[in-house]
Symmetry: C2
Amino acid sequence: MSTTLTEENYLKAIYHISQQSKSEVSTNAIAERIDAKASSVTDMLKKLADKSLITYVKYKGVTLTETGRLTAVDIIRKHRLWEVFLVEKLNFSWDEVHDVAEQLEHIKSPKLIAEIDAFLGFPTQDPHGDPIPDKFGNIQQTNKIILSKADVGQVYTCVGVLDSSSEFLKYLDKHQIGIGTELKVVDKEEFDQSLTIEIASNSLVMSKAITTNIYVKKI
Amino acid sequence: MSTTLTEENYLKAIYHISQQSKSEVSTNAIAERIDAKASSVTDMLKKLADKSLITYVKYKGVTLTETGRLTAVDIIRKHRLWEVFLVEKLNFSWDEVHDVAEQLEHIKSPKLIAEIDAFLGFPTQDPHGDPIPDKFGNIQQTNKIILSKADVGQVYTCVGVLDSSSEFLKYLDKHQIGIGTELKVVDKEEFDQSLTIEIASNSLVMSKAITTNIYVKKI
DNA sequence: CTAAATTTTTAGGCTAATCTAAAATTATAT
DNA sequence: ATATAATTTTAGATTAGCCTAAAAATTTAG
Ligand SMILES: [Mn+2]
Ligand SMILES: [Mn+2]
Ligand SMILES: [Mn+2]
Ligand SMILES: [Mn+2]
C-alpha cells in the first residue's frame, strides 16, 4: 500500500520521537513536532493504524509496526542520501540542505535512490554526521556522546550535531567547527555549565545551549 | 504567489496543448491530457484565472498569461534538466526518466536547479531531443520536421521524438534509433504511408504510426 | 483519595481537488 | 433555420488534511 507525503512525515516524526523517549509516542509530542493540533494528529493516527503502520491504543500512545518502522527509515535514508548529494555534488553547504531534502525524500523511485547511493560511493553518514540506513533498514550506530557530558582535559572529535537548524550550523561554521574537528575541553564552569573549548589553538567558551547540540567521540 | 503541484500540472498541460493548436485551449483538451473530468478542469481554470496565471472566458477556452507561461516553462525546464541528469549521471535509459522527472519537476529550490544545470554543463537538449528553456524562459527552437513528411531519397538525422512513452522509445531502442541516428528514406508506400528506412545499412519498414512520432533534420 | 490540571479524543467545520449528473451554451447538419 | 450533437459549466457529493471548541480520560497535587 502506498503512503502519502503527509503520512510519511508522520511516520518520520513518530520514529524520531521514539528514538529519544524509547516508550510509546504521545499525541502531543507528535503534534508539536509536526506543528499541527492534537486533534489533527488523532485523525492521522487512526489512518496510520488502519494501514497497519502503527499500533495505536486510545490515550496510550503509538508505536511503529515493523512495516511502519521500515517505511520511516526508508524516508530517512532518502533524506540523508539527498543531503550528501547536495553537499558533495552541488556545492550546497550543510546548513542549506535540510529543507530541500525534506522535499526530495518523498520522491518515489527505487532505482533513483539506488543509483544516487552508488553515484555517491555508498556513503554511511550524512553531512551532519547522522548515519545513513542501508537499503534493508539497518542503521549503524556510533558510540558518540553529547559534548556537555565530556570530561575536562580530554580531546574529542566532533562527529555530529543534534540540532541541524541553519542557525546552529552557521554558528559552528563561524567558529570553524565541522564533522571531524578536534575539540579539547579545557575547562567547565559549574555555575552555568559552560565549557571552555580549544579548537586549533584558539579558545572558545560554549554555553550549555551549544554543548548539548554537539556530538563528540573520544579521540 | 506560490503554485501547488496540481496547478503546475495544469499550466504545463495548457502550455503543451497551446504549442500544438496555437489557438485558445479548450476545457476538453485539458481534461483529456490531465486525465480528469471536464468539470474538474473548469474548477481549476477558475482558480488559475483568479491567480492571473491564465485568461479564461467561459465557453471560449483559455490562454496563459505571461506569468502563467513563465511558470509553465520553468516547470518544463526543471523536468528536462532532471531527465538529462538521470540519463547522464544515474544510468537511466531515455525510456525510464519521464515518470521520475514528473515528480522531480515540482521540487522548489532555485539553487538546486541552478546547480544541477551547472553540474550538467548547461545542456540545451533533454534525452528526447527537446530543448531546455533557459532560466529566463527562452526556448531555442530547431527547424526539425516530422519523419512522415520527409522526402524519398533524402538522408536525415533523428533529432527528437514526439511520443516519449516508454513503449515507443523501446521500439526505437530495438531498432537502434536514437538522437543523432542517420536515417535514409528509401521508399514510400502511398497506400498506407509507410516508409522504408535505411539505418546503418539495414532496411526497416516504418508504419505511419511510427513516422509521425519521429523528428528529423536534413543532414 | 479526591480535585484540579493536563492530555487526548470527539464533534463539527473548512479548503483543495476530485467526481457524477444535469443544465446551459455552442457547433453541426440537414 | 432549426433540431441534434457536442462541449462546457453548474450543482451537489466525496476524500484528505487540517482547524476550533467541547467532552472524556488520564495524570498529578494536595
Ligand atoms: Mn535533514
Ligand atoms: Mn542531516
Ligand atoms: Mn518527460
Ligand atoms: Mn523529455
